[in-house]
Amino acid sequence: METFAFYLFSILIVGLFCVTVMSRNILYAMTSLAAGMVLISGLFFLLGADFLGVVQLIVYVGAVMALYAFGMMFFDATGTVKENNTPATTVFLLGGLSAVVLVVIFAAPAIGGNVHALYPTPEGATNPQAVGLVLFTKYLIPFEVAAVMLLVAMIAGIILAGKKMDKSLSRMKDESAVSEKDVK
């Protein structure tokens, strides 16, 4: 059962992410990305990391993808993306090489056979409980720092995206026509 689930999820995830990477349409790409992320949370559940899976669902699928969706309202995302993609040979050479190399590294026999758990999963606790125990004891300071980071990111996002929010984008385009030429 587990094997079946793993292969199912894996194939689906790989396929969906390939769509994300290859698709010319942003909406397709985003949708397949979101779907892939949902399936990754499935992998987490398989691994027994229930809490991580839930967080994955909430943060990635819920928040991040929603953010992208909202962000895309600013861009002209309905049509296909016109771009000069890097030549396929380069892409597949580099991508393939990296895949081979990484697989070789991960597939190699693990060097540290006698790895000891630094924070072993507590006996008898459910996963969320265990996570809570470790997160609020050993990882309290990183957790707080992460909280501050998120706050900073929020403020930054608001300020960056919120600038000149009251002005119409189409009109701004005309204004920026001159500078656009400069860029080119």
């Binding site: 890097t86 580099l94 090489l97 990296s98 190399v101 990484l102 070789v104 590294i105 190699a108």
Partner: protein, 630 residues
């Protein structure tokens, strides 16, 4: 007593630094005055020290630790014993006189302040040289006087180079470099000697080194003795490193008087005297020193016979007298060498200062053939130079008589009759060329009128400043016994055998006879007018002598030219073709590779990401390789 030592040592340094502050400024009288006063202070301190050493004994002070590295400990120590006290008194006395004299002599020179700065720096270095209690301190002073000598010979560095026919020394800067480089060659020998000492004794303190002399092997002692003497040969301009001394006359005359007659050039003699425990135990090296000294004595005297240049004649006579000193030191009569050193310092400085007066009067003309009859206008200079020349010739009762006669007695006593004979002959030559100079300058017909000179006597105070030297040139020899008693507290006494003792009156008569004979010949030849015999002047021996045995030309042809060509090859073939080409090649490689890789910098983020991915993959591959290999 300690404060006296420091006063004597550092007063000239203070003066030098003070004058250096105004080095670039136009002349200000007080730099000369202040440095002269400080020198006088140093002189007084030296005399007090001399008295103290006489009554109480040597003074030893340690200023501070200089080099402490592992087992090596070299302090800045100063030792004032009998020899040092004598040297200090001589050096500071002559220096003081020369400083005062220079106030007048350099009066119109643009570099007045600079001159005094150098001159005082020289005195400081010289004092370090004689006062140091170890070989390294001696070496510091040794190099210090070398640098000051270089600065002062090249004092008029702006003069253009001319050919050897016009001026045998080519130019002041050329002469300065020659002196410096010759001394470098010799100093290498000295350094090797010092290294040998340190290597084998483990200390450079005089007392420890000399205490270790009896334990050292004979070969080693000979090696050390020879290497140290090579250093002494350079500084004291012994053959074959002698050419620089005559060329050093390009410097201002007070410099010639102080550095190239009275003090610095005697440093070599001082070194041999200082290292007497070493040289006493290697008599064969001593004998070689004596032979070389004797050779230089007659060699230099022969060149002086025909020279026409006022200062060069005196320079050759200095060389000749240094030869006497080495002869004495080499034969083991160290105190005699020191005695002649001191006496020589007085009368030779006096002679040079007199020559300076003449030069001043003759507007820097040095050719004695263009002078004559100057005694009428320069009475006092004439008297001074006459006295100095008499002292140099060794006429009773002047200083030179006592010192030189003693050297001849030593040579006789050692049964080295060859040395005695040559030195005796040299005494006659000395008398001849000294008085040839005196007669051609001050007597005979007034040839200068033909050349339109208007000579005049120098300032009064300058003449007064020379007085102490004049007096000492006369009376110094009278203290021979006291001097001997004093310095033989440190130096080995020299015993004259019974036989020699009986011979002394005869020796004196014989020596005085040849000296007087030389004077008489000079008188007959030159007292009325300048006699020139074109036949003699065209003859080979005359030309050989007047061209300094063609040695400078030989050096130039045999050493300088090939060396320059070698350097040229090294420059054009090795440096340009190999070293520079390599460096240029690397620069070119970097530049071109930069130029090529510049194309990577497209400004497009996507390209950068590609490079980054490629780099990451390479790193990962390397990691795999490393793991697999291990």
């Amino acid at each position: 007593m300690e404060s006296l030592v420091y006063t004597a040592l550092f007063a000239p340094l203070v003066g030098s630094l003070f004058a250096a502050l105004f080095g670039m400024k136009p002349k200000s009288l007080w730099t000369g005055t202040v440095t002269s006063l400080l020198l006088f202070v140093s002189f007084v301190a030296s005399v007090l020290l001399l008295q103290h050493v006489m009554e109480v004994g040597p003074v030893h002070v340690t200023l501070m630790d200089w080099i402490v590295a592992g087992d090596m400990r070299i302090p800045f120590g100063f030792n004032v014993d009998q020899v040092t006290a004598v040297m200090m008194a001589v050096v500071t006395l002559v220096s003081t006189v020369v400083h005062v004299y220079s106030n007048g002599y350099m009066e119109h020179d643009k570099g007045f302040n600079r001159f005094f700065s150098y001159l005082s720096a020289f005195v400081f270095s010289m004092l370090v040289l004689v006062m140091s209690d170890n070989f390294l301190g001696l070496f510091i002073g040794w190099e210090g006087v070398g640098v000051c000598s270089w600065l002062l010979i090249g004092f008029w560095y702006h003069k253009e180079d001319v050919t050897r026919d016009v001026n045998p020394s080519i130019s002041p800067s050329w002469a300065a470099n020659e002196a410096f480089i010759m001394n470098r060659i010799a100093d290498l020998g000295m350094l090797v000697g010092i290294f040998l000492i340190y290597w084998n004794v483990g200390s450079l303190q005089y007392d420890e080194v000399f205490a270790a002399v009896p334990q050292m092997s004979h070969t080693l002692l000979v090696a050390i003795g020879i290497f140290l003497f090579i250093g002494a040969m350079g500084k004291s301009a012994q053959f074959p490193l002698h050419t620089w001394l005559a060329d050093a006359m390009e410097g201002p005359t007070p410099v010639s008087a102080l550095i190239h007659a009275a003090t610095m050039v005697t440093a070599g003699v001082y070194l041999v005297i200082r290292a007497h425990p070493l040289y006493s135990s290697i008599p064969e090296v001593g004998y070689f020193i004596a032979l070389l000294g004797t050779f230089v004595a007659i060699f230099a005297a022969s060149m002086a016979l025909v020279n026409r240049d006022l200062k060069r004649i005196i320079a050759y006579s200095t060389l000749s007298q240094l030869g006497y000193m080495f002869a004495a030191a080499g034969l083991g009569a160290y105190w005699v060498a020191l005695f002649h050193l001191a006496a020589h310092a007085f009368f030779k400085a006096l002679l040079f200062l007199g020559a300076g007066n003449v030069m001043h009067a003759m507007h820097d003309e040095l050719d004695i053939f263009k002078m004559g009859g100057l005694k009428k206008v320069m009475r006092w200079t004439y008297i001074y130079m006459g006295v100095a020349s008499l002292a140099l010739c060794g006429i009773w009762p002047l200083a030179g008589f006592y010192s030189k006669d003693t050297i001849l007695e030593v040579a006789f006593n050692e049964h080295t009759y060859g040395i005695w004979f040559v030195l005796w002959l040299t005494a006659g030559l000395t008398a001849f060329y000294s008085f040839r100079l005196v007669f051609l300058t001050f007597w005979s017909d007034e040839r200068y009128k033909k050349y339109g000179f208007h000579p005049h006597e120098v300032q009064k105070y300058v003449l007064w400043a020379m007085a102490p030297l004049g007096i000492l040139a006369v009376v110094f020899g009278w203290w021979k016994e006291e001097f001997m008693e004093f310095v033989t507290q440190l130096l080995p006494a020299y015993e004259v055998s019974e036989h020699t003792h009986h011979m002394v009156p005869i020796l004196i008569v014989v020596t005085s006879a040849i000296a007087i004979g030389g004077i008489v010949v000079a008188y007959v030849l030159y007292h009325k007018r300048l006699r020139r015999n074109p036949k003699i002047e065209a003859s080979l021996p005359y030309r050989v002598l007047s061209n300094q045995y063609y040695i400078p030309i030989l050096y130039e042809k045999a050493i300088s030219k090939p060396y320059a060509e070698l350097a040229d090859i090294a420059w054009k073939e090795i440096d340009m073709q190999v070293v520079d080409a390599t460096v240029d090649g690397i620069a070119k490689l970097v530049e071109e590779s930069g130029d090529e890789t510049r194309k990577m910098q497209t400004g497009n983020l996507s390209d950068y990401l590609k490079w980054m991915a490629a780099g990451a993959i390479i790193l990962a591959v390397l990691a795999i390789v490393a793991v697999v290999k291990s």
